[in-house]
Symmetry: C2
Subunit: 480 residues, 2 copies
Amino acid sequence: MGRETTPETLDAVLAASAASARVLARTTPDRRAAMLDALAAALDAAAGELVPLARAETHLPDSRLSGELRRTSFQARLLATRLREGLLADVRVDHADPDWPMGPRPDLRRTTVPLGPVLVFAAGNFPFAFGVAGGDTVSALAAGCPVVLKAHPGYPGLSRRTAEVVAAALTAAGAPEGAFALVEGVEAGVAAVRDERVRAVAFTGSQRAGRHLFDLACARETPIPFYGELGSTNPVVVTPAAWRERAGEIARGLAASFTLGSGQFCTKPGVVLVPDAAALTAALPPLTAGRMLTPETTGRFHTSIAELAAEPGVEISLCGDEAEDTGAAPVVLRTTAAAALARPAVLGTECFGPAALLVEYTDESEVYDVVAALGGHLTATVQAGSDGDEFALALVPLLAEHAGRVLWNDWPTGVTVSDAQQHGGPYPASTAPATTSVGTAAVARFLRPVAFQNVPDAALPAELRDDARGPRLVDGRRTG
Amino acid sequence: MGRETTPETLDAVLAASAASARVLARTTPDRRAAMLDALAAALDAAAGELVPLARAETHLPDSRLSGELRRTSFQARLLATRLREGLLADVRVDHADPDWPMGPRPDLRRTTVPLGPVLVFAAGNFPFAFGVAGGDTVSALAAGCPVVLKAHPGYPGLSRRTAEVVAAALTAAGAPEGAFALVEGVEAGVAAVRDERVRAVAFTGSQRAGRHLFDLACARETPIPFYGELGSTNPVVVTPAAWRERAGEIARGLAASFTLGSGQFCTKPGVVLVPDAAALTAALPPLTAGRMLTPETTGRFHTSIAELAAEPGVEISLCGDEAEDTGAAPVVLRTTAAAALARPAVLGTECFGPAALLVEYTDESEVYDVVAALGGHLTATVQAGSDGDEFALALVPLLAEHAGRVLWNDWPTGVTVSDAQQHGGPYPASTAPATTSVGTAAVARFLRPVAFQNVPDAALPAELRDDARGPRLVDGRRTG
């Protein structure tokens, strides 16, 4: 059962977090890398304990959870590596130049400093990767920010135990007291968003809850950045050429992707533009899905399906098998491009669970119109024919106007962690579309640039001194 | 006199801007660089016409205006240079890797795309550098975004003529119709902030007006980034050692800096911590300032001085000479650290004009307390003694917690344009402290990353193709 962090406890947590901020800010990148490595090692070492805890609370299978935990410790280690390599900062040095064309230039050196305490709302669907020690937490720590983690109520036991593992690992690696803490309960979360000691918020969850918290963050006397991932239907366009060439493969790929993890992925392909919805439905393999995260999740899934099916021109095309009486049978809905264009909101209606809406089109111009009517999404996918599918090529830049990641002949559910990953997109996919919540660029969300003018080496951050190594932009040239 | 852009005209402007966005987004960096070079050349060529227009409307001296125009065309050219060098994008390529530790990695390539139409509010105090063709305008154009420029009412004639020069230059350089337009009037500005076709706002001005517009931008159905620079008192700390060694030099430097341009600089040093306020006042050279921008500006200056002087413990220490009956005589106020700590708001009260508040401290601990009570500022300065001023060294990282730029034995009014410049800072200095509004990094405000997964070369942006040149992060290594 979830507990409610009391206002008194929250105050103490935030005080400790604020007090630790300056200490953390002055740690070297190597020291922060050591903390992240220690956190990763502790997670791996606790896998035998954490995975069963996660299974009991989320009903996700062990294989998925083990893989997710591996991903979670990997991303901490990748950030540690990039910290040591100096690749997470954006360091710029402009030496004094009396001949600078607009007038003499002083010595100016720019690096980044951490924002301070970061409030992270854990997500319900990834108890490790977007949970207590997930991407937002390690990104903030890599930036040198303390983390106050608002636990998701869907897995309280796992959250508390993971928090203990994380806190112990960080402390053993020399992190200051207050660098990490767990809080629980809606009221504590709301109060923390409003608290002046919190300097940034990261959130993954529903559009309703996320927008409410975003509004609170903007309305503060001192507004703070709110990095919210609020939902996406991840549209897919199957071109006529692709359909002619690979109908069976596309049907199998779609079925596997939209039912993966019982459809509880933020990158689930929820809207699929196809030339022939009936044929695609018929080509689907038998559909099954496991139990959903919580009874509430299952209930909301059924409600959202009913609401979507009640839209004009939308009907249920197929109901899959209900595995083990889980209450979460996969559902395929269908409509036409014309109907969707008459009610564009259906294109952005996320049914969180194993459901997909097929949108049948008659010609390319209808596809262009539907693409233009898309809102913001985490991903957008083209299923293209072999060489020479000019329609598919033309769709790529158009889909890029609506998504943070564009895929070609692939499915969006997998999200690798790397330097080039972009997990975000125009609102509501993200409240901060210029940022990513996955990949090494996620660290930049918690940093702020500061320039130092004519400051002597003795008072400069190490990476700005004349003898610093690592990648820098020096007098307009990349070095290191 | 200012005119009001009608709702019908505004709608047509925004429609044309939105229509041009896709065309501009697909221009190459070289093509955008050519547009910026053309804009710069046109501004320089029109100097003989624009500078007198500016002088008539702003009362700023020709020498200042000529220098400001030179800065303005320079920054357009610097962005053009960096565009050609590929230094404004953040390009990352991760090749497919079956052995990626968290699981096989697809080919993933990340670049940036422009946000779309940008609404720029010109500032009153820099009719060129933060005006119609100022830093925000050229940053947005460099990013590939069309610009809708809300003219400042303080120099309507100059705004209209500059807009004609800019529009003609851009058109001649191949920019699409709608890439640049001017609108006028408070209501048009407010309506544009709310319009869904506008995708970002840049603003330099008062905290009251800026916060109102920020709130509107956040409250939209689709919130958009609001890059607002809302004010700063640019605190200066004169250490005891500095005061012992260089009292006269510091007094002269301060006088020159806070009266420069009649104190109408966002980087004016408005709060000065000193060991001896009476001695600093006595050491100041004769103070004069020219006419302020408008009678309204002068009136607000006098009001703000009266309000600050009415605060407990604050008094007027010196009134300078009123040059040519301009109504804008420089004013020095004084208070004590103890009084300021009792009413920290006085430390953040910006008197826009030639005024500075001296804050006399008795010991180092009082300085630390005042620094901790500072809000967010564009700049913070240490006037330090010669080698071994440990107090000054200790202040640098503390001041960096409150400012976007930290200076050592220098004055903050000058703001060079370069790669390492940072013009921004914690709120209210900026509503987006992770960004800068001056320097080449300012372009990033108008870009959004997009990753392409398994997309063939033929559909990739040029900078992501295998044969692309230019700086990139490839499989975790910097190249180019």
